[in-house]
């Protein structure tokens, strides 16, 4: 059966990370296999064909395109030919007026600058293409190019510390980590953010306030990492509501990574202490989250070449036992930290009368509660 509970997000001091950097359409790869790249290095680029604009010349001249000879006549009125570069406002076709007088002529000028792509002899439509748009792909993480996918991109590998968040907004950025709170319980407020946070990834504790997000943007910070956020604050900050859990393309000045969820939730001890250790180091940050198939979580990556690689230390399905540290991730104990007391194998009914596999969890105040196994997350400390 599928594992009955949510495996914890990865928070590790050293792991091997591979990133596929792929262009959206075929292009040129700019680096070779084995090359060392930095976060802002270009690894591939391509030209997105210019945006086409249509202009129905036949309609302008009132020609009937179902008649071949009218199409032929239309061609004679064109002052430009396929492949010609043109400027916005340039005269591109002209039909002499009454008695061939220029003053009564019907004139067509180009609405955009670009290149004449094609004049359709089926519809009398002229397609003008704007100049191509370059697309450049950065490495995003510093590391080594371990594979080149010809014409598409590269795979970069690095040894790094990795913090996966639960939810984020904003895309790929790179900056220095700056922890501005003293404890994982502290709320990150605007007062803690000043001009020294410029280009930095600001780390808070249990919550980031709306004012703090605005202030971070104002001082030119790169990103914000915190335990939680109040749902309505996020909506106000973005200016719209996120309906579906697919993010990463928001037009905002900072990238935000939440490590725990919505509401004020203490950041996990391990995450906080690790971010403290990484204070002052350069990190790649990405808020992109996609919870549907594929599960993409937001991340913070800090290259860590000196450290030995600890292979996959995620706790697996068999790893949960008596004493395992967990976080409860659904009401009525949402956000509480606990240790596993026992794991009865049989299905049991909880208050909602749902029959589920449960565990008994000892909360920090000593009370023991029954919780569906699906509603806990493992914490690695």
């Amino acid at each position: 059966m599928a594992s009955a509970y949510t495996p914890g997000l990865k928070v590790t001091r050293s792991t091997r990370i591979r990133k596929i950097r792929r262009l959206p359409l075929l292009g040129d790869v700019l680096v070779e296999k084995g090359a060392r790249v930095e976060a802002h290095d270009l690894v591939a680029k391509t030209m997105l064909p210019g945006e086409p604009t249509t202009l129905n010349i036949a309609q302008r001249f009132n020609y009937d395109v179902s008649m071949r000879e009218e199409i032929e006549r239309l061609k004679e009125l064109m002052l430009v030919k396929e492949g010609d570069s043109i400027e916005e406002g340039q005269l591109i076709a002209e039909k002499p007026g009454f008695l061939g007088l220029t003053m009564f002529a019907t004139k067509v000028t180009s609405p955009v600058s670009g290149v004449i792509d094609v004049l359709s002899d089926i519809t009398g439509q002229l397609i003008i293409r704007k100049p191509p748009v370059p697309i450049e792909m950065e490495a995003y993480i510093p590391g080594k190019v371990v594979e080149v996918i010809p014409e598409e991109g590269v795979i970069i590998e690095t040894q790094a510390a990795l913090v996966q968040g639960i939810f984020g907004v904003g895309g790929e950025r790179y900056g220095e980590i700056k922890v501005v709170v003293n404890s994982p319980r502290d709320v990150l407020t605007a007062e803690q953010i000043d001009s020294s946070c410029k280009d930095k990834i600001v780390v808070g504790g249990s919550l980031v306030t709306l004012d703090a997000l605005h202030k971070a943007g104002e001082v030119g910070a790169t990103g914000v990492v915190a335990g939680g956020i109040v749902d309505t604050d996020l909506i106000e900050y973005l200016g719209y509501d996120i309906g579906v859990a697919i993010t990463g393309t928001e037009d905002i000045p900072i990238t935000v990574v939440l490590t725990e969820g919505f509401g004020e939730i203490r950041m996990a001890e391990k995450t906080f202490s690790m971010l403290n250790e990484l204070n002052g180091k350069m990190a790649s940050i990405n808020g992109a989250t996609q919870i549907r198939a594929g599960v993409m979580r937001p991340e913070l990556i800090v290259e860590n070449p000196g450290e030995e690689v600890v292979e996959d230390n995620q706790i697996d399905a068999n790893g949960m036992g008596e004493g395992t540290l967990i976080r409860i991730i659904r009401a009525p104990y949402f956000g509480k930290i606990a240790t596993v007391e026992s794991l009865p194998p049989e299905l049991q009914a909880v208050e909602s009368e749902t029959m589920v596999r449960v565990l008994f969890a000892k909360l920090e105040d000593g009370t023991v509660v029954r919780v569906p196994r699906a509603n806990v997350e493992l914490i690695e400390e």
Binding site: E51, S120, I122, Q125, I127, D231, A374
Partner: protein
Amino acid sequence: MAKEESQLSIDPKKVKTILATDCGSTTTKAILIEELDGEYRLSKRGEAPTTVEAPFEDVTMGVRNAITEIMELKNQDMEDASKHVNYLDEGGVITTSRYPDREETRGVDLYVSTSSAGGGLQMMVSGVVKSMTAESAERAALGAGAIVMDVIAQNDGREDYVKIQRIRELRPDMILLSGGIDGGTTVHVAELAEMIAAAAPKPRLGIGYRLPIIFAGNKDARPLVERILGEQTDLRIVDNLRPVLERENLGPARDEIHNLFMEHVMAQAPGYNKLMDWADAPIMPTPGAVGKLIEETAREQDITIVGVDIGGATTDVFSVFADTFNRTVSANLGMSYSICNVLNETGVENILRWVPLQIEIFELRNRIRNKMIRPTTIPQSLQDLVIEQAIAREALRLAFEHHKTLAVGLKGVQQVRDVAETFSQSGSGATLVDLMELDMIIGSGGVLSHAPRRVQSVMMMLDAFQPEGVTKLTVDSIFMMPQLGVLSEVHPKAATQVFDRDCLIRLGTAVSPVQATNSKVKPGDPCVTVNMVRDDGTTDSVEVPFGSIAKMELKVGHTATLEISPRRGFDVGAGSGHKVEVEAEGGLEGIVVDARGRNPMYLPTDQTERVEKLMEWIEAMETYPIETLKAYLE
């Protein structure tokens, strides 16, 4: 339905064991069907996480895991180890087509599969007139099981450059281009084709591949479309989906969509080439298979059906009215990934109107968001369950509203109408969904199929769909409609038998009177009397006032004659105050007499009154453990 039987390498009559899988976006579900005493029955089921994404990137791993679970369960039942079964070898699922002389314990006779993994089938459709060919094209794509990313039409109100930009942004799996009745406009079709050619959209999967485009428009425009798109794209030409204004012909376009789904989309997805090899029938998109099953059921039993599948990300609605099948997908209404969108679209108030408990709005909002980012959690508290089911009501209601707007008669058609039709405004462009004519609702998806009490599914469906008159209510027990849908292509008998006996759970029959428009009826006024004579001769009778709901016992497998007498001003199908006599089927919740009214359903706006009423209904129907609920209220 029987068309494919001859394509099987095995005589359908000799088929004793069948494996069927559905590779969903998160879970791969397998079922084992066996013939016992001349009857096909569900024998075992298994599931495993889908393995389309990294690090596995091979869908067949999940399929193997799900089938392995079935094997383990099957072998657990068998003490004699020599009878232990094995359905897999290195070449995949062991089937009779690969091993005609296989031993009985080794492999199965038939293997089929559906898939919606990797985001399902995503399409863009295009037509000349938005309300005509473009709408027909949209129906064809939806019916084939696709998610329609956008509908581009000549007259959709957007500037050409906006449309071109949109086409460039989208990365569909394929495009369906239609336009013009046969003999009609060719120029407008050519313009659309040129627009697509200029935008040069790229397929979602397979970076270097040519985008598949199906042209199903005016046959006179074929050479033009061929000239414009032939070289640049993988162009397929099929019969016009709207050959004349009065008729749709969606079959050829749908079939070609399925072909391309196999050839392109599936072939690009990791591991699917293997899976296609294993299967004895083409792999179908999951919703396409569900639709097929619903369509067949409606046809065979000569009934009207509304089916719904509410998932984590999307909600599909299927309907068959007036012999016309329709499917819609609300791509952003669901119970986990898209749950926040339900909140956005309907608003907090609409969700809370179904909840008799007090909860702070900010608390509710944070809870819903946390469910979105941790989709696999389960409601532990009763409060959480009540909230989740309230959200489900709204998701279902919105998806059904959406469905009604697309499941319509053909627009732009001049119809000869009689006087009655003119008054009921049926005909051109009116919705085909007629709740009074609706015979059966089939619900599926976790929140409906796995509700702790079955009556909760009854109430969710009644509140969301508000059926009128007499309607049978069912749920899909473990969501095996996709597997049965694809099976029905090659072995209709097995599919029908398992659907009837193991898949459908009969919840009961609802009797719902509708009050007259502008009715002044008040809660407590007399509304309806139902007299029941069961097939075993026992009788029962209930009188339900307006604004209340009641149930009468009628067990699964039993039938009863219902004499339904609505008061004047109420209609149960025969007109105001007219008595109706029907043969009703029993179910886990028996006969539900829903006298809460329709258009609108009675729901007090005053908070205290509303909570009282909700509690009254909950108590009458035993929807939730009432004592626990009362404790919350105190």
